[in-house]
Symmetry: C2
Subunit: 221 residues, 2 copies
């Protein structure tokens, strides 16, 4: 689609109605819907099979379109996987942030991470596929994935910094190290959910214990 | 090969020479060598490509034999992967155990885990493939993999228990929880080696810091 053609396209009544998003013409809106359909089909297949066995052909089939239509939106499977990961991790970061609430550092961390489990357990196999791939991917993909995960780590870091600010955690607490340990503990629990059928309550209780251990040396009281 | 045929086979001069292993006849020895050749080729390919893209056909090619010969030794790729994992994890458990040495709990853990890095960094991509697969595999495979990993966890647990016994760690230290946190921290550092080119020295320094944080609440002095 040439830019001239896009501009010439009249806005649809839906686009004119008072939405806060930038207005899209009909073709642009159709493109966004197509892209989202592909992403949803891909998400389902990655969750079901993992990364490698999910083929573009089957993703196209799941979205009810041709492989050509998929490739018009995504260069390859890796780009598609990253788009799914970005969407889901951004959503999870918002969930975790909103879950933090008020209270002590421990209470806020436990609440935030519990909210994280609550908002992601229905997509458990997808999370497994994401972590699995994070262990064996090209460096460029890892670098981009880290930029996305950073939003989640930032929530943990902010809670810890608030704790230092309030004097609840020691001034010389190693916040980056604590952040990584908390994140690794949080992530590792997904394996309990996957293989040991741990419920959200079990995960929540366990992560609270892990938080206790990891923060023990940094608490001032 | 029928059992009668195996018994009828005369032992080779090599087998008769004073080895401590149970004596094998020529055919048994050839079978063991073939199996090892397949395992080595598979290890190389899993390390290079990861689990899914490594095909039996290419593993056979790497071992210089037919796919039929591979299937005579291993039922499928999953069994082959598990055999590689078992061999490598058992070797690593021995390395970690031997590395523990004497001294404080912290010193012993740091020495053991540093020995672990030392003994495995030359096979980094294989470790990445093993961890990646541990996140997305059938439950039965996970259960068997845990039985193998248990040897490694047992080394950490024993060091912690020794520390409790000597009064260096609190009587009510949660040894299983501490073991898991230490193991997760140890494992997560392999990603630094893979993507950030951390050296053995950097890994060793970092794991020592992680040990300090994780044990802070359990130390009695």
């Amino acid at each position: 689609m040439s830019q001239t053609a896009a501009i010439a396209d009249a806005p649809s009544p839906d686009d004119v109605a008072g939405s806060e998003a930038p207005r899209m013409n009909r073709r642009q809106a159709a493109k966004v819907r197509t892209r989202q359909k592909v992403l949803d089909a891909a998400r389902g297949l990655f969750a079901e099979r993992g990364y490698e066995p999910a083929t573009i052909r089957d993703i196209a089939k799941g979205a009810g379109m041709s492989t050509g239509a998929v490739f018009a939106n995504f260069q390859d499977k890796a780009e598609l996987f990253e788009a799914v990961l970005t969407e889901d991790m951004t959503k999870l970061a918002d969930t975790v942030k909103a879950g933090a609430g008020e209270g002590s550092v421990k209470a806020r961390l436990a609440a935030a991470l519990t909210a994280g489990y609550h908002g992601s357990l229905d997509q458990l196999p997808l999370f497994q596929a994401i972590v699995a791939r994070s262990w064996f991917q090209p460096l460029a993909a890892e670098t981009r994935a880290r930029a996305v995960t950073k939003q989640l780590l930032a929530v943990i870091t902010q809670i810890l910094r608030d704790g230092v600010g309030k004097g609840e955690l020691s001034q010389d607490a190693d916040v980056p190290l604590l952040t990584d340990l908390l994140w690794d503990a949080y992530l590792s629990n997904y394996r309990r959910a996957a293989y040991d059928s741990w419920t959200e309550e079990q995960l929540s209780a366990h992560v609270a214990k892990q938080i206790d251990v990891i923060l023990a040396g940094a608490l001032t009281r």
